[in-house]
């Protein structure tokens, strides 16, 4: 029973040191199928060293600290070895061995995830894709890129920009996150509104299954209706169905004209009106619609190095509206028409239009830097929720009401164009009292509105146990069946994603 308790407790949120998570109900403990894993032996290490280069088998505690700590410094693994393969064949050999030996593995990309999905929960072996960082091909006629999973997103962006294309996704973590990790988590980001989901833009995937089988679907065909579309299984599976080792992406043309407006808006109803009007006026050139509340701006100006308020006035909400296209005059005309209408209508009380790329970056820094500012401000409880637009901000206000009296700052921001709220609660230090008021209440609130408890961040180690708040029991059962088929020994990223793992 004690070992079952330990296994089960691994799936709980292990917040900051000294914070005890919620207690699991007994029924949940008994439904846990605790996987039985083996510990690493010297023979295993010798095997790894026979497959990989000497310095790609990392065992020294100093180096392991990075592999064992997530970006938020919230989740800490106890892995004693990190492996850094340089080829798909090496990944295959490692996984085959680990599967035979029942040694659990946590695949790791840029380690920038926000739900504890990329570090070990216990002492799983870390398998980092950082050694597979080559862009293999950029086809400037077809508009496709093929690369290894460990290519950093920004590096991929630079490679395709040189040929006149852009990667169809962009996020604040672009300097560190890997395209393989983006694909494995079905990352959303700032341009989801314009380019859509990775489920649509990924053309092919090469992945390695738990038993070492290499599934090579790495082609760049736009249309291929031959059998079940296996790549969709890997996209968003967060490393639990296979390890993505190669990605082929469709690339949109790099827009030659990009313009950014930053608007002060007088109410949430106005935010929705501005969004609706933006779609009407700007139509096909609209490429990003983001929002943040004044509390988020406040926190960011206080804690983010180099942040500067673009406006002198303050307002309850701010929006970033970006347009991109192939004709600057045409886009500027549409944008000016839209801005004039919004100022006349009174929804927009102030705003600015970025005059050059430096100002554009300055404005994006505000929106992209909120996460970093929150990390610096103290402890943060982070939620990523999809909700119907009219009710989206109600969650922020209800959270404020609920935490009234606590030393907590509640901020709301996110991809309003996608109906995706980032709700964050900042406290000076970790607080059980605050945490217990938030969870599971915030997920129950979301379930009631038929929202998603994780719009884009995924489940990781944090939210698997709440999956039934957004998916039916039948769906979860089918997911578990799929997992058993693809990873019978459960060695791939255990304790994550599905409840009871």
């Amino acid at each position: 029973m004690a070992s079952l308790l330990r296994q089960a407790s691994c799936g709980t949120v292990r917040a900051f040191a000294g914070c005890t998570g919620p207690r699991l109900p007994l029924r949940r403990l008994l439904s846990t199928s605790a996987p039985s894993f083996n510990k690493l032996t010297d023979d295993d290490l010798a095997f790894f060293r026979s497959v990989l280069k000497e310095n790609d088998v990392i065992t020294d505690t100093e180096s392991l600290k990075t592999y064992n700590t997530d970006w938020m410094n919230k989740y800490h693994g106890k892995s004693t070895v990190a492996l850094r393969p340089r080829s798909t064949e090496q990944v295959s050999k490692i996984l085959k061995h680990c599967n035979d030996r029942r040694i659990p593995v946590v695949p790791q990309g840029g380690n920038t995830g926000l739900v504890g999905g990329s570090v070990a929960v216990e002492d799983e072996v870390v398998l980092t894709l950082a050694g597979m960082d080559k862009v293999l091909a950029v086809d400037e006629f077809a508009g496709t890129a093929t690369c290894q999973a460990g290519v950093v997103l920004q590096q991929l962006q630079e490679a395709v920009e040189a040929k006149g294309y852009t990667v169809p996704l962009d996020l604040g973590a672009k300097g560190s996150c890997h395209i393989g990790g983006n694909v494995a988590t079905n990352a959303g980001g700032l341009r989801f509104l314009r380019y859509g989901s990775l489920h649509g833009t990924v053309l092919g995937i090469e992945a390695v299954l738990a038993d070492g089988t290499i599934i090579d679907n790495l082609n760049t065909l736009k249309k291929d209706n031959t059998g079940y579309d296996l790549k969709q299984l890997f996209i968003g599976s967060e490393g639990t169905l296979g390890i993505v080792t190669g990605v082929a992406l469709a690339l949109p043309k790099l827009p030659s004209s990009v313009q950014l407006a930053y608007l002060a808006v007088d109410s949430y109803e106005s935010v929705l009106t501005v969004f609706k009007e933006a779609k009407g006026h700007l139509a096909e050139i609209l490429s990003a619609v983001e929002f943040l509340d004044d509390q988020a701006l406040d926190l960011t100006l206080e804690h983010l190095h180099g942040a500067r308020n673009p406006l002198e006035s303050r307002a309850p909400f701010y929006m970033l509206i970006e347009v991109s296209g192939s004709n600057e005059e045409h886009d500027a005309e549409k944008l000016n028409g839209f801005l004039e209408a919004m100022m006349e209508g009174g929804q927009v009380t102030d705003g600015t239009l970025a005059a050059d790329t430096v100002q554009m970056q300055g404005i994006w820094r505000i929106r992209e830097g909120i996460t970093e500012a929150l990390s610096k401000a103290g402890a943060v409880y982070k939620y990523d929720i999809s909700l119907p637009l009219p009710q989206l901000y109600d969650l922020v206000e209800d959270t404020r009401t609920r935490l009234d009296g606590e030393e907590a700052t509640v901020v709301g921001y996110g991809h309003i164009g996608d109906g995706n709220l980032h709700l964050n609660i900042s406290t000076p230090k970790a607080s059980d009292a605050v945490f217990n008021k938030i969870e599971p209440w915030v997920f129950e609130w979301t379930r009631e509105k038929r929202g998603s408890i994780s719009a884009e961040h995924g489940l990781g180690a944090m939210k698997g146990k709440y999956l039934n708040m957004s998916k039916s029991d039948e769906s979860i059962k089918l997911m578990k069946q799929l997992k058993t088929v693809m990873d019978p020994n459960g060695i791939l990223n255990p304790y994550k994603v599905l409840p009871g793992n």
Binding site: S256, P310, L311, E340, T352, D356, T357, M360, G362
Partner: protein, 265 residues
């Protein structure tokens, strides 16, 4: 408000008229590419914006107006039709009116630009001219100095701080050895350096208002300036690509490379 240098007595300082030069250049963030025929750089479909040093000049002038030291800021640009956008941006930041000297500015070198500004100064008689120290396309860093010579006005270049009082300006300059402070009697030419100020974002209400501010159009011929080029660009090339660096394994290996490969020892 006459030129202060022609009077000896104490002048009313609340009415300084400042002329600011603004240039439309390839945006700072763009990766510039050389045309295949090596005649110049690719300008088609490339993002253009106000030269960063000119933006700083506008900001400084507007701040002087807000401090009650200046009463009018005049933005001047030389360029094709689209240069008007740059003037409008200066107006949105707070300049009062503009002058657009229409010319396909690609052929213009600093001397011609300085002559055109001299002609405008003769007409407008400003108390101060603030220019960016250089444009990020040509990087010449000559126009301000040449204008000073043509007008006979003192110059204070690479300004990182400007204080105006009693018909003179005290300007702190960024020079190789550190900071140097000079005093110049007005009228004078000041060129801006990066640390002078951080330009404001133009607000939407001001962008709308700027559309109604007056911009006068003129040409080099109207100003009586000969802008025939004195310099012919023969070829434009990219700098040679840097070779990748290598990590050496030992001091001996480093010495070997320094002596035998790089031949610097």
């Amino acid at each position: 408000f006459h030129s202060l240098s022609t009077r000896g007595s104490i002048i009313d300082m609340s009415g300084l008229r400042i002329l600011v030069g603004v240039k439309r250049v390839i945006d700072y963030g763009v990766k510039v590419r050389v045309k295949p025929d090596k005649s110049g750089v690719v300008m088609d479909n490339v993002k253009m914006s106000i030269n960063p040093f000119c933006e700083i000049a506008v900001e400084e002038a507007v701040r002087l107006k807000e401090a009650g030291v200046a009463s009018e800021v005049l933005a001047v640009s030389i360029g094709p039709a689209k240069a008007l956008d740059t003037i409008r941006h200066a107006l949105a930041m707070g300049a009062d009116r503009g002058i657009h000297i229409e010319h396909d500015s690609l052929g213009l070198a600093p001397l011609q630009v300085a002559k055109l500004f001299k002609a405008v100064c003769d007409k407008e008689t400003p108390d101060m001219v603030i220019l960016g120290k250089q444009a990020i396309d040509g990087d010449f860093n000559q126009t301000g100095q040449m204008l000073s010579a043509l007008t006979g006005w003192p110059q204070a270049t690479f300004a990182s701080e400007v204080k105006v009082a009693d018909g003179a300006a005290e300007v702190t300059r960024e020079v190789d050895g550190g900071l140097e402070t000079v005093g110049v009697k007005l009228p004078a030419v000041i060129t801006t350096d990066l640390r002078l100020n951080e330009p404001r974002y133009a607000t939407l209400p001001n962008i709308m208002k700027a559309k109604k501010k007056k911009v006068e159009k003129t040409t080099p011929a109207d100003l009586g300036v000969d802008v025939a080029p004195r310099v012919e660009v023969i070829k434009v090339e990219e700098p040679p690509t840097r070779k990748a660096g290598i990590t050496v394994g030992s001091v001996d290996e480093l010495m070997d490379k320094l002596v035998n490969e790089a031949k610097v020892l």
